[in-house]
Amino acid sequence: MSDISPQSHDMIGVRTVRAHQFFGMIVLVVLISLFLVYVALSLYQSSGTMQLDLSRPGYASARQEAIKGNEVFKGFSADGTIDKASLNEFDTLYKQKAAEALIDIDAFSGAALSDGTLGLDRD
C-alpha cells in the first residue's frame, strides 16, 4: 500500500506546475500561436485571398503581367451637378472601361479543359 495519499499527489502536481511556471507559459504561448496561425491560414484559403495572391511561388510571370497594367484610374466623381458636360465625361470613361471588359477574349472558356485539348479523346 502506498503511503502517498491522493491529497499529497495533488500537492506534488501543484508544486510541479508552480516550479515550471515559465516553461508552462512558453508551451501555452506556442500552442496558442500555432492555433492562431492555423485559423489565419484557414481564413486565407477559404476567403479566396489565396486564389488571388499572385505573390505565391510559381506565379512570377503572372505577377509581372499584372504589374505592367497597374495604372491608377480615378473614376467618376460622386459629387457635383449633372449637366451635359458631366454626362459626356462619364460616357467617355464608361465607354473606355466597357471596351476593355467587353473585348472578345475567351476568358475561362470550357475548351481549355476539354478532352480534345488535353488529348484524351484520341490515341
Binding site: G48, G75, F76, A78, D79, E100
Partner: protein, 176 residues
C-alpha cells in the same frame, strides 16, 4: 473568466474549420481507353494544366480589378450623383445591384474552380488516373459555371451602357 470565454470561442472557430468539406464527386464511369490516354499524356497534361492555372490566376486578377473598377468607380458614383441631384436613376440602380450580385457569384465561382483545379494538379495522373479524370470533370464543370458568371457580368456592363445612353438622351431632351 475572460480567458475561458476566449479559449471557448477559439475552439468553436477552430472546430468550424475542421469540419469536412462536402465531397462533390462526379460518379462517372471512366473507360479503360480514357485511363490509358490519361496515363500516356500525364506529363504533358500536368504541364499544360500548370500553365493554365497560372494564366487563369492572372486573368482572374485582371478581370476582377476591371470589374471592380467599373462597379466602384463608375456605376456607384454616377448613381450617387444622380440621387444627390434628385434625378431618377432607377434603371441604373437596378442594373448596378444585379451587377454586384453577379460579381459576388463570380468571386465565389473562381474560388471553387481554383480549388477544383488545384485538386486535379495534386492528383498523380500516372498512379491514380481515375481520380485524376474525375477531378478534371469536376474542374471542368466549375470552369463552366465561372465562364457563365463572367458572361453575365459582361451582359450587365452592356445593359448599364444602354441604360445610361437612354438616361442621357432623356436628360438632354428634358433640360436643354
Amino acid at each position: 473568466m475572460i480567458v475561458r470565454v476566449f479559449v471557448g470561442l477559439a475552439l468553436i472557430v477552430g472546430a468550424l474549420f475542421l469540419l469536412p468539406e462536402p465531397q462533390v464527386n462526379a460518379a462517372v464511369t471512366v473507360t479503360p481507353e480514357v485511363i490509358e490516354r490519361v496515363k500516356a499524356r500525364c506529363v504533358e497534361n500536368q504541364a499544360a494544366l500548370n500553365r493554365l492555372h497560372q494564366t487563369d490566376a492572372f486573368l482572374r486578377n485582371d478581370r476582377g480589378n476591371l470589374y471592380r473598377t467599373i462597379g466602384d468607380k463608375l456605376m456607384v458614383p454616377l448613381n450617387r450623383r444622380l440621387a444627390s441631384n434628385q434625378l431618377d436613376g432607377g434603371a441604373l440602380l437596378t442594373i448596378t445591384s444585379d451587377y454586384n450580385r453577379e460579381y459576388n457569384r463570380f468571386y465565389q465561382a473562381y474560388i471553387d474552380y481554383d480549388n477544383a483545379l488545384s485538386k486535379v494538379l495534386e492528383t498523380d495522373c500516372s498512379r491514380e488516373p481515375v481520380a485524376f479524370y474525375n477531378a478534371l470533370l469536376d474542374a471542368r464543370q466549375k470552369r463552366q459555371t465561372l465562364s457563365e458568371s463572367n458572361g453575365k457580368i459582361k451582359e450587365h456592363i452592356r445593359q448599364y451602357g444602354v441604360a445610361f445612353t437612354d438616361f442621357k438622351t432623356g436628360f438632354e431632351k428634358e433640360y436643354e
